[in-house]
Structure formats: C-alpha cells, structure tokens
C-alpha cells in the first residue's frame, strides 16, 4: 500500500478519527493522491521535466509558509541541491501575503490591492536558466495574486520556451499545490479539535 501524502503531512493513520473522516469521501481522497502522482510520477516529462516540477513545487509551497514545504524541500534536495540552494536564497525577498491584485477596470477597482510583483534576479536567472526562472515568476503570480493573471504573463512563458501543454501542466501543478496545502492546513487544525 502506498502512503497517502495528505495523510502523512497531516499525521493521520488508520484507526484515528481524522483518517476515518477522510474515508467518508473516498474518491476525493484517492484522487487527491492520484493528482499528486500525475504531477510527480508522470510518465510524460517531455513538456515539464522532473526537476522543473520539483523546483516549482518547493517554490510554490514555500511561498505560502506551509509546513508541507518540508516535503517538497526533501524531494528537490534529492534531485538538485544546487537548485534548492538558489531557491532558498531567493525566498526571503519573495515572501508576502495574499491574495492581492487588480480587477478589470470598473466598480471593483476600488478593491484593487497593491503588492509585490516578484521577478527573478539576474543571479537566479543565471543559475536556473530563463525557462525555470520564468516559471518561478509565474508561480509567484499564481500563488499570491491569481487575479493579476494575463495574456502577457502566458506570453512570457511561451517566450521563455514553455509549450502550450507545458503551461497547462505548470498551471495545474501550482494550482493543485494550493489545494493540497490548504487541505493539509485545514485538516491539521481539525485534527486538533476532534
């Protein structure tokens, strides 16, 4: 039996109350794990390499301050300690609070919230290459200010060498992690209250 990643990150195991609760939504549980497997154990790495997946995953989760970042840190460290070191050095200046961003011009403009538009430094781009550096900028946008997403942001990825299919996988990766880390956060709190 393979270990369910969310169970592991929350600290749930067979016989305890939280485990039993998750078993009542068996397809959600099984497919949250299948989503993780589809992203991190894919047999289709032509559009997004394993290193890119792990680097983006660590970056996305670390940006949120989630304890789940330790899991992705470990995976990236095993794949490329150099990449991990570059990301860890860049992280403090990239951290902020979300969600923020702008709405299409109109009555909602009153709710626009300004915030950091993170771009990789020349050092980060030199260390990781323009392709991964562009993905990190997009990951920051998707994580903190998804309503700022734009055609220009996608064009920047295409210009940096991402394929259309690769952008779909990258977007799913960051978006899935924003789900997973929230399930982990929510269930961890609930576990303490059961």
């Amino acid at each position: 039996m393979t270990t369910d990643v969310i169970d592991r990150l929350v600290g749930a195991s067979a016989g305890d109350a939280l485990f039993a609760l998750r078993e009542q939504r068996p397809d959600a549980k099984r497919n949250a794990q299948a989503s993780y497997d589809a992203l991190f154990a894919s047999d289709e790495l032509e559009h997004v390499s394993q290193l890119e997946r792990l680097a983006v995953a660590y970056w996305a989760v670390a940006l949120t301050g989630s304890p789940a970042a330790a899991h992705y840190r470990e995976l990236l460290e095993a794949e490329s300690p150099e990449t991990l070191a570059t990301l860890e050095a860049a992280l403090p200046e990239a951290l902020t609070n979300g969600p923020y961003g702008d709405y299409p011009a109109g009555p909602l403009s009153a709710e626009n919230v300004a915030g950091l538009h993170w771009r990789p430094s020349d050092e980060v781009t030199a260390a990781l290459g323009i392709r991964l550096a562009a993905a990190l900028a997009h990951t920051h946008l998707l994580t903190y200010r998804p309503r700022d997403a734009s055609t220009d942001a996608l064009q920047a990825l295409l210009d940096a060498g991402w394929s259309t299919t690769g952008i779909v996988t990258l977007s799913q990766l960051v978006s899935f992690l924003n789900f997973q880390l929230r399930v982990v956060a929510g269930l961890t709190v609930l576990k303490g209250e059961l």
Partner: protein
C-alpha cells in the same frame, strides 16, 4: 518563433454576477480530432470535449481526470456532511476572495439554487465576504473559506469552533475545508488560462 497567446477582443465582465458568463481560453485547446481514449478518460464526461476550458486542460489528461474526480466527490457526494448549498457557498466565498469572477458566477448561482436565498448570495458578491449574513452556518462557512484562501493560510481552531457552534458536524467541517481548498485550485486555473466573457444577450 514561440507560440502566441490568443487575445480575446470582447470586454471582460468587471463585476461579480450570478449571470451565466462565457469563458475564452488564452491558449489553444487541443483540437477535437486529436482526442484519444486517454484524453477522454481525463475529461471524465465526454461531453466536456465541447468546452474550451476542459479541452485546454485535457492537454495533460491525467491531472485533469484526477482533478475532476476530486471535485465531484467534494461537491456531489451526498452521504452526510455539509448541505449542498453550503458547499457551493464555500466555493463562491473562496472565488470572491481570490477575485475569480467566472468561478464566483457559477457557484453563486448554484448556492442560490440550492438555498433559495439569491439575495443573501448576491450580497456576498456585491459587498464582499465581510458583508452581513444572519445565518450562523453561512457566516461560519464564509469566514472559514476566506481564512483558508489567505496566503499564508489563516484558518485556525476558532474557525472549527465557529463551524461547530453553528451546528455543523465533523464531516461537514471537513467538507467546508475541502470546498474552499478545491476552489483555490479551480480559481487559479480559470483566472490564469483564459477570461470570462459577457453573457450572450
């Protein structure tokens, strides 16, 4: 030369609404004639091949299939837990907080349908997640969803207690957590791969 994004010509909706909006992709969906059985498995429901959002996402069929099956169990599993209207409210609240006008339109409409309280839903859209709501369960689900949508996540024991004091059991609380968490997945895809379009007149 790199591929070029699609830049839709029409005006984007600029208010939250319960109207039926359209959605146009910024990247080329997979052509219908390129769909294989693996793609249809990813679509789960074959009729989704007609929808540009799903036909774009199906470029990576495995994650789309797992995403859709996760979604279906969180929102449609009828064995106990959070009432349907409140599951939709968790989705609408996360979408309002992130600013996904398209997702909010769909799930506000569903919340109205299941609760028969369109005015309370419209207040969430018009005035935001902090707008007054008299119903303690609505208040608790909205507050929990907003806290889960914040980065870093701001959900704490006080939210669990608020949900419980409003009369929700542990499975219902787990459903609320999953509903809001799932829309932090869905909102990011909808917001970043295309844009809503005005309802057809």
């Amino acid at each position: 030369m790199p591929a070029q994004v699609v830049r839709p010509a029409g005006e984007e909706p600029n208010v939250f609404t319960q109207a039926m909006l359209g959605w146009e992709a910024w990247l080329e969906p997979l052509a219908a004639e390129e769909l294989t059985e693996r793609h249809f498995d990813g679509l789960v429901d074959r009729r989704r091949a007609a929808n540009p959002y799903f036909r774009l996402l199906v470029r990576d069929p495995d994650i789309l299939g797992a995403r859709t099956r996760t979604d279906n169990d969180i929102f449609y599993n009828e064995k106990g837990g959070l009432p349907r209207a409140l599951r939709e409210l968790s989705a609408a609240s996360a979408s309002r907080s992130n600013g996904c006008i398209y997702c909010a339109s769909v799930h506000a409409r569903f919340a109205s349908h299941h609760s028969k309280r369109p005015d309370d839903v419209q207040r969430l859209l018009d005035e935001g997640t902090a707008a007054p709501q008299d119903d303690a369960q609505w208040r608790a689900v909205i507050d929990a969803s907003v806290a889960l949508t914040a980065t870093p996540v701001a959900f704490g024991a006080e939210h669990v207690r608020q949900l419980r004091e409003a009369g929700l059991d542990d499975l219902a609380i787990a459903d609320a957590i999953h509903g809001a968490a799932f829309f932090n997945w869905a909102n990011r895809l909808m917001l970043s791969l295309g844009q809503p379009t005005q309802p057809r007149g």
